[in-house]
């Protein structure tokens, strides 16, 4: 199965996800319609999530522009169907606070993780229009140190999740 034929079904599924998320009013004002954690929570309880994934998503792929790519962590958050090689400790995902914060495996090094919110000003370079907008729960991480790459050898490097 490739992802092309699934596109329409995906769009319909996400429309449902969006609607469901918006309808779960918390009473808070200016609640984000769907932050990354909201999306994960919604996806967890939505059967369409699994069907929205094509088998093409499950194929491991390596960054082709690296001479010795790191290896993704095995598995991934059940909140994202286990298909994406990432966990969200202390996020809206159903992952424990002690879940793996790194996205690469065979690592011996430093890691950092943060979910950060704030305000940003958007400027249209053509019209000069400026608009202040919130950014929510931006997931920022780093990994730095020794790692065993896809070539089986040990390397040292620095990585960021943006």
């Amino acid at each position: 199965m490739n992802i092309g034929p699934d596109a329409a079904r995906n769009a319909a599924a996400f429309a449902i996800l969006n609607r469901e998320t918006r309808d779960t009013g918390s009473g808070r004002q200016h609640r984000p319609c769907m932050t990354r954690r909201d999306f994960a929570l919604t996806a967890t309880g939505t059967a369409v999530f699994g069907s929205a994934l094509g088998a093409g998503f499950l194929k491991p792929a390596l960054a082709s522009n690296w001479s010795f790519a790191p290896v993704p962590i095995p598995g991934g958050s059940p909140g994202l169907g286990g298909f994406y090689h990432v966990f969200g400790p202390a996020s809206g995902l159903p992952d424990p606070i002690d879940a793996e914060p790194s996205t690469i495996t065979n690592l011996d090094g430093f890691v950092g993780l943060a979910y950060i919110s704030g305000m940003v000003t958007r400027t249209n370079s053509k019209t000069g229009e400026r608009l202040r907008l919130p950014y929510r729960e931006s997931d920022m991480r780093f990994m730095q140190g020794k790692f065993r790459g896809t070539d089986g050898n040990i390397h040292e490097s620095t990585f960021a999740l943006v």
Binding site: C33, L107, G118, V120, Y135, R148, T158
Partner: protein
């Protein structure tokens, strides 16, 4: 970075920007890129770490679902520069997680606070965040860990 906009007529915010460095479809390493070594500086004994990079190529997918599954507008290429600072030592934890799903690593971590400032350019739009001091984190941690072949003395 996940940017939202207040919807007219109600009190919800709709995501309008989802900036991450991975080309669609998202497979393999999750939103993870290699950055120069000087991008990260860690002082665990002080509870401090810095992550910074400039002109990192990204794609704007608009929304998270579009970034993960597609089906929406084509992503727009752009770039982002950012500086994240972790500070403080609210809690120190030693973790040895052997859970078959969530674990396979051990390490020493400091839970603290993080703040960020960033800029981005996507199409005709330029984004400039408020100063770092005005941002806040819902969760932040830094530490040192060993996983995979380096976990449980399996590695060299």
């Amino acid at each position: 970075m996940d940017v939202f906009q207040l919807r007219a007529g109600d009190q919800t915010e709709t995501q309008i920007r989802d900036l991450n460095p991975t080309q669609f479809p998202q497979v393999g390493l999750f939103w993870t890129i290699e950055v120069p070594g000087h991008s990260v500086k860690v002082e665990l004994d002080k509870g401090k770490a810095i992550l910074q990079a400039v002109h990192v190529p990204i794609f704007d997918y608009g929304t998270i679902p579009n970034a993960l599954f597609g089906g929406g507008p084509d992503p727009i290429p752009g770039s982002v520069s950012f500086r994240v600072i972790w500070r403080g030592m609210q809690e120190q934890v030693d973790i040895r997680n052997t859970d078959p799903v969530f674990g396979g690593f051990e390490g020493q971590f400091i839970r603290n606070k993080a703040q960020m400032e960033w800029t981005a350019t996507v199409g005709d739009y330029r984004f400039v965040s408020d100063p770092l001091e005005t941002s806040s984190s819902s969760f932040a941690e830094i530490g040192s860990e060993r996983n995979g072949s380096f976990f449980s003395g399996e590695g060299t």
